[in-house]
Symmetry: C2
C-alpha cells in the first residue's frame, strides 16, 4: 500500500511470534517515525546477535564465548544439571536465585507430530555429559505441557539407574485462587501434596 | 545475563511500542533461533525502510517517491482532502474502499501538555494546499479522542469560510451492543441521529 520497502518491513515483522498484521503495521510505523539512529540500533543489534552469539559447547545455552557464563563459573555445582527446553528457561530459573547447579538446554521438546525426534534435541549430549562428569542429579525442568512431559519421561527412562533424576513440582501457582485452578493442575497439586506436620 | 550482545538486542526490542521485557526476550530468542538469513532479512528491512522511505511532498504520507501513490493517482478526487493524524490512518481508511479523495497526514494531534503545538503538525501546509488547489471539502478524520477532537476543532476554525469542512461521524460501532456502549459514545450516537423515514 505505501511502498514496497514498507510492505517488506511489515511482512518481516509479521514473522515474529505473536505479531499479527496490525501489530506489524504499528511497529513498522513506529520504526519509520523514530530518529534514524534508533531504528538502525535495532537493525544492528539483530545483526550483531546473529553474528556473534552461538551455543555453549557444554550446555547449549546462548553465549558469545566457547562456554557460557554458568558453565564457566567454578562456584556453580557442576554435579547438578537442570534440563530445560529453551535458553529463555535458563533466564526464568536464574531469576529465582534458588538454583546453584548448571544447565542443559535441549533446544525444544519431543513432538513427533511436528517432526521433533530425540536426535533433533541435545539428548545424546546430555547422556554423555552425565557419564563423563559424574553428574549426581538431573533436574528435569521441561515445560509441564504434553510435549514437555513426554520429553521428561523419555530422558528419565534413558537415565534410569545412572543418576538421580528429579522433576520440577507441578501444582497451584503461588498467589493463585483454588476456585480458578483448572482441574489438571488441581489434581497435580493434590497428588503431589506434602506433609506439614 | 546471556551476553552483552543478547542484552543489547533485548534492550533495543524493549523500545518498540507495546513490547515489555518478557516479550522482548521472547522476540530475541526467536531471532536467535531462526536461520541467520531470516533474522538478517528483518534487520535489512528496517535499514532499507529508514534509508528509502520519506514523506510525500504533497500530503505527508509515507512514500519512496517524491509524491505518494494516492497523490500521484489521477483517478483520485484531488478536491476532497481527508485529514488524518498518522500514515497508519490512511491504511485504515483505504481498507474501507469508500474514499476516493486524497489525504493530508498531520503527523500527530495537538497536545499542548506534551508540547505538540500547531507548528509541529502539517497544518500550515494543509491551509496552503486548500488555497492553492481549490479544495472543495476537507474531511477531518483525526481520532475521536481529546487531542484528536481539539485538532479537528482547531483546523475547522482556520478553514471556516474557505471550504466545506466535515468530520467523521461518531456513534455506535457496527455490530456492537447498546448495552455495552459507553455513555459518551451513546450520547454522540443520539445527537448525531439520522432521518430514516
Amino acid at each position: 500500500m505505501f511502498s514496497p520497502v514498507v510492505d517488506e518491513l511489515i511482512s518481516q515483522l509479521t514473522r515474529l511470534p505473536g505479531v499479527g498484521t496490525r501489530t506489524a503495521q504499528r511497529l513498522a510505523f513506529h520504526l519509520l517515525r523514530v530518529p534514524k539512529e534508533d531504528a538502525l540500533a535495532l537493525a544492528d543489534a539483530i545483526r550483531a546477535a546473529k553474528e556473534r552469539v552461538g551455543f555453549c559447547r557444554e550446555c547449549g545455552n546462548l553465549t558469545e564465548e566457547e562456554v557460557c557464563r554458568v558453565c564457566a563459573d567454578p562456584r556453580r555445582d557442576h554435579t547438578v544439571v537442570c534440563v530445560v527446553e529453551q535458553p529463555a528457561d535458563v533466564l526464568s530459573l536464574e531469576r529465582t536465585h534458588e538454583y546453584r547447579g548448571v544447565y542443559h538446554v535441549l533446544g525444544g521438546a519431543l513432538s513427533p507430530l511436528d517432526g521433533v525426534e530425540p536426535e533433533h534435541l541435545r539428548i545424546a549430549a546430555l547422556l554423555r555429559r552425565v557419564e563423563r562428569d559424574g553428574v549426581a542429579e538431573v533436574v528435569l525442568a521441561t515445560n509441564p505441557t504434553m510435549t514437555g512431559e513426554a520429553t521428561a519421561g523419555f530422558i528419565a527412562e534413558r537415565l534410569r539407574g545412572r543418576t538421580r533424576v528429579t522433576r520440577l513440582a507441578s501444582g497451584l501457582p503461588v498467589g493463585s485462587d483454588l476456585e480458578y485452578a483448572d482441574e489438571v493442575t488441581l489434581g497435580r497439586a493434590l497428588s503431589g501434596r506434602r506433609e506439614m506436620a
